[in-house]
């Protein structure tokens, strides 16, 4: 399904999103593959139970043998029999800065991935297409790192106290003012961990008697925050505005489920870029709906802040909308800024309320000073306030890389999900054996990729996900594309039934954001 939308003037630029359907033969073969794996899983379990084969997963000690087992046998079936076979594609240890190229520690397994041993050798210069390094701020030299080193020697490495007690440094105040200015909102507040920002602040905003409408494919942190808050949760189909409008109408007209009392408030939870699909939220339509039905919008820009928009200010900037329309703008510093932590921005009353009632401000330690300094320097760099044009150049480079990479992959014939402009590129693999094979083949060719399967994605839609970075040069992308082409032919991954005509390379200039090529 290909949407090119110019919805009555709401969108200033064409919105190109595509989720090609799974070919029927591939779906059938994937199910057959999983069926065979399940049968073999039962066989191995049977052999393990009758001691024909050695059981290597975690078991209780002898003294605790008659306790109820910690891991239910059936729940762990997937883990033991399917995940263990391809476990070496994940948790790969690296030993250098996670920039465009990394060094990886080599590890081998002599017992089919149950245990790993490190040979001690280091594989150097692997092209890194897995780290969330969108603007290339993961560096070990440069202005950000020097500023962080200075603050480290001055303030120390930690704070050892919560925000409401002795943990509020002057650096934190400076950071929050800067983030508020960057986003274009009245004020902002920063927290130590991105995941915890969601799971600890949504319960402070909504409670029993409120309604949360969350997208199908929301991140685990949003789901956990919604669950912990105690509000009623209703789910609308991914990025589907008709489904959202129907839910809003039903909710206001019929009220709470059994008592029919009116809802206290309605909160819509969406993300800027969905990390597994690569799709961008239809923000103009969501804001129009929000205004019509008087609900509140919580936008999680974990991946989109810094990565979208002509000046890197996220999905609001990308659509050219007013940041004051979004009630709660949340984001993380881990991805584009090369640090750690999260923030929430909005009106002053909202942030004052969160300063007093947020769980994180009251119970959790505040951010450590060198990390704060890294964020301050990188935000100033993106805004251009440090006197150079590095920030703007990086944002431009990321947009160029995104468009080039996506177009070339589509020309080769792979099925790529998601929006044309999102730097997260999922490439569909579907079959379980290809998940492991793709990861290993790419590593042999010195390219590090991320593969994801069940349970992060639906069971037949396993994929490989590339995260582009402004630090990737065109040569690196070309090398990667050549290798992906080779592996695609080797593993027969070119499922797409639509072929794009290869275009001559047009130079990218100021008109990049004014029109789209097709």
């Amino acid at each position: 399904i290909n949407h090119i939308v110019h919805n009555g003037g709401l969108y200033k630029r064409p919105f190109n999103e595509a989720f090609e359907e799974t070919p029927m033969l591939v779906a059938v073969l994937t199910y057959v593959g999983y069926g065979v794996l399940t049968l073999f899983g039962y066989l191995r379990d049977f052999m393990r139970q009758w001691k024909i084969e050695k059981c290597q997963n975690a078991t209780e000690r002898e003294e605790q043998k008659d306790f109820v087992p910690l891991y239910q046998d059936f729940e762990n079936f997937y883990n033991r029999n399917l995940y263990m076979r391809i476990r070496d594609s994940w948790n790969r240890p690296i030993c250098s800065v996670p920039g465009a190229k990394v060094d990886m520690m080599e590890r081998v397994s002599h017992d089919y991935n149950w245990t790993f041993t490190y040979t001690g050798r280091v594989i150097k210069d692997i092209i890194n297409m897995g780290s969330y390094n969108y603007l290339g701020f993961a560096q070990k030299t440069g202005a950000c790192q020097e500023a962080a080193a200075k603050v480290l020697s001055q303030y120390g490495a930690g704070v050892c106290s919560t925000r409401q007690e002795m943990g509020n440094l002057d650096k934190h105040e400076e950071l929050e003012k800067l983030v508020a200015r960057f986003l274009g909102v009245e004020s902002a507040m920063a927290y130590g961990m991105g995941f915890a920002t969601n799971s600890m602040n949504i319960p402070a905003l909504v409670g029993k008697g409120c309604l949360i409408l969350s997208d199908e494919l929301n991140h685990a942190s949003l789901v956990l925050g919604a669950r912990l808050s105690g509000a009623t949760i209703r789910i609308f189909k991914h990025n589907n505005m008709q489904s959202l409008e129907k839910l809003l109408k039903d909710a206001i007209v019929h009220g709470q489920p059994r008592t029919r009392r009116p809802w206290k408030k309605i909160l819509i939870l969406v993300e800027g870029i969905y990390s597994m699909e690569g799709s961008i939220v239809r923000l103009p339509e969501v804001i129009a709906l929000k205004k019509k039905y008087k609900s509140y919008l919580y936008l999680d820009e974990a991946h989109s802040i810094g990565a979208l928009g002509p000046s890197g200010r996220g999905v609001v900037d990308y659509f050219g909308l007013n940041p004051e329309d979004v009630d709660v703008m949340m984001g993380t510093f881990t991805k584009s800024f090369g640090a750690a932590g999260g923030y929430i921005g909005g009106k002053k009353e909202l942030i004052d309320y969160l300063r007093t009632y947020s769980h994180s401000a009251a119970y959790a330690t505040s951010m450590s000073p060198p990390v704060v300094e890294q964020i301050i320097t990188s935000v100033k760099c993106i805004m251009g306030e440090d006197g150079t044009t590095i920030g703007r150049a990086r944002v431009q480079q990321l947009a160029e890389n995104t468009r080039y990479f996506r177009r070339r992959l589509k020309e080769m014939g792979f099925i790529i999900y998601g929006n044309e402009d999102s730097p997260v590129v999922p490439l569909m693999l579907y079959m379980p054996a290809k998940i492991g094979a793709f990861g290993r083949e790419m590593l042999k060719r010195n390219i590090g990729v991320v593969v994801v399967g069940f349970p992060a994605t639906p069971i037949i839609e396993s994929r490989a996900r590339f995260c582009l970075s402004a630090a990737h040069t065109k040569e690196m992308l070309d090398t990667a594309l050549k290798e992906i082409n080779e592996v695609g032919d080797l593993l027969q991954l070119k499922y797409s039934r639509r072929r794009l005509v290869p275009l001559l390379d047009r130079p990218f200039d100021e008109t990049t954001y004014e029109e789209t090529e097709d």
Binding site: V68, W90, N91, R92, P93, I94, C95, S96, P98, V102, M105, G130, S131, Y132, A138, Q139, K140, Q145, A149, L152, Q154, Y155, G156, C160, S161, Q164, E165, M166, G167, N168, L169, E173, G192, M193, A196, L228, V253, W263, K264, K265, K294, S295, D327, V328, F333, T334, F337, A339, A340, L350, D352, Y353, H359, A362, Y363, T365, P370, V371, G448, V450
Partner: protein, 244 residues
């Protein structure tokens, strides 16, 4: 066909009944209020939500934070005044240690500041693995795992093991992070009085009698006891020998 008359009449009636059912309107089990479109729009117009956050009074004690300038060690500069710090959790005084700072500087030069990814996707560094090995040796256990946020450690560990239907015996004065972990796990929670082993024993004995009544259920419910070493809320230490 030779069929008796009543048979034919009965079949005829059945066929007519089926035709009637096929053409009659569907029967809704629960009459949802069939409001007209205009009434629905009026309801949507009239509904007023609460404000997103209630206003916070300006003199709320937690609103205006104390600003600390300079390093937060045992001497701390709060709001411009120099004070002796009795408020931070700096038990071993390592915040100001030169060895710690120089090691951090070295790692900053080698790895940069952030990890740019979760542990599963190129976010595992050799230093993470080394730290986990050293922690396991230090605590004399088989293995260890590290988290990036202190609050999240226990709040994620509890729901990883204890699911709906399991039983957790918790001390009353458990800290907020443990409470959030228990809430996320959806298990049955039984509180016992703070540091009171007799109360815990009573609860465990009650559980045992419950088990004997329903042995099938008891074979699949896991039981956990959650205590803190040094309680954040009261400052006591748990009686570990008796617990074990």
């Amino acid at each position: 066909f030779q069929a008796p008359a009543y048979h034919l009449i009965l079949e005829g009636i059945l066929i007519l009944w089926i035709i009637r059912l096929l053409f009659s309107k569907t029967y809704k089990l629960q009459e949802r209020s069939d409001l007209t479109l205009k009434e629905k729009e009026e309801l949507i117009e009239e509904w007023q939500p609460e404000p997103l956050v209630p206003p916070v009074p300006k003199d709320h004690p937690a609103l205006n934070y104390n600003i600390v300038s300079g390093p937060p060690t045992h001497i701390i500069t709060v709001n411009g005044k120099e004070c002796i710090n009795f408020a931070s959790f700096n038990f071993l005084g390592l915040l100001n240690n030169e060895k710690v700072k120089s090691a951090a500087q070295a790692s900053l030069k080698k790895y940069g500041v952030g990890t740019c990814g979760p542990r599963g996707f190129y976010g595992t560094f050799d230093v993470h693995l080394e730290l986990e090995e050293r922690l396991a040796k230090f605590m004399r256990t088989e293995e260890a795992i590290i988290y990036s946020y202190g609050f999240a450690t226990i709040a994620s560990a509890i729901p990883a093991y204890s699911k709906r239907g399991d039983i957790v015996f918790v001390d009353e004065a458990a800290c907020f992070a443990i409470q959030k972990g228990l809430q996320a796990s959806r298990s049955n929670i039984k509180l016992f009085k703070h540091n009171d082993m007799a109360d815990l024993e009573r609860l465990l004995k009650e559980q045992e009698t419950e088990d004997q009544k329903n042995p099938r259920k008891a074979r699949v419910t896991r039981r956990f006891i959650v205590v803190e070493g040094l309680y954040m809320n009261t400052g006591d230490i748990c009686p570990l020998p008796e617990l074990v």
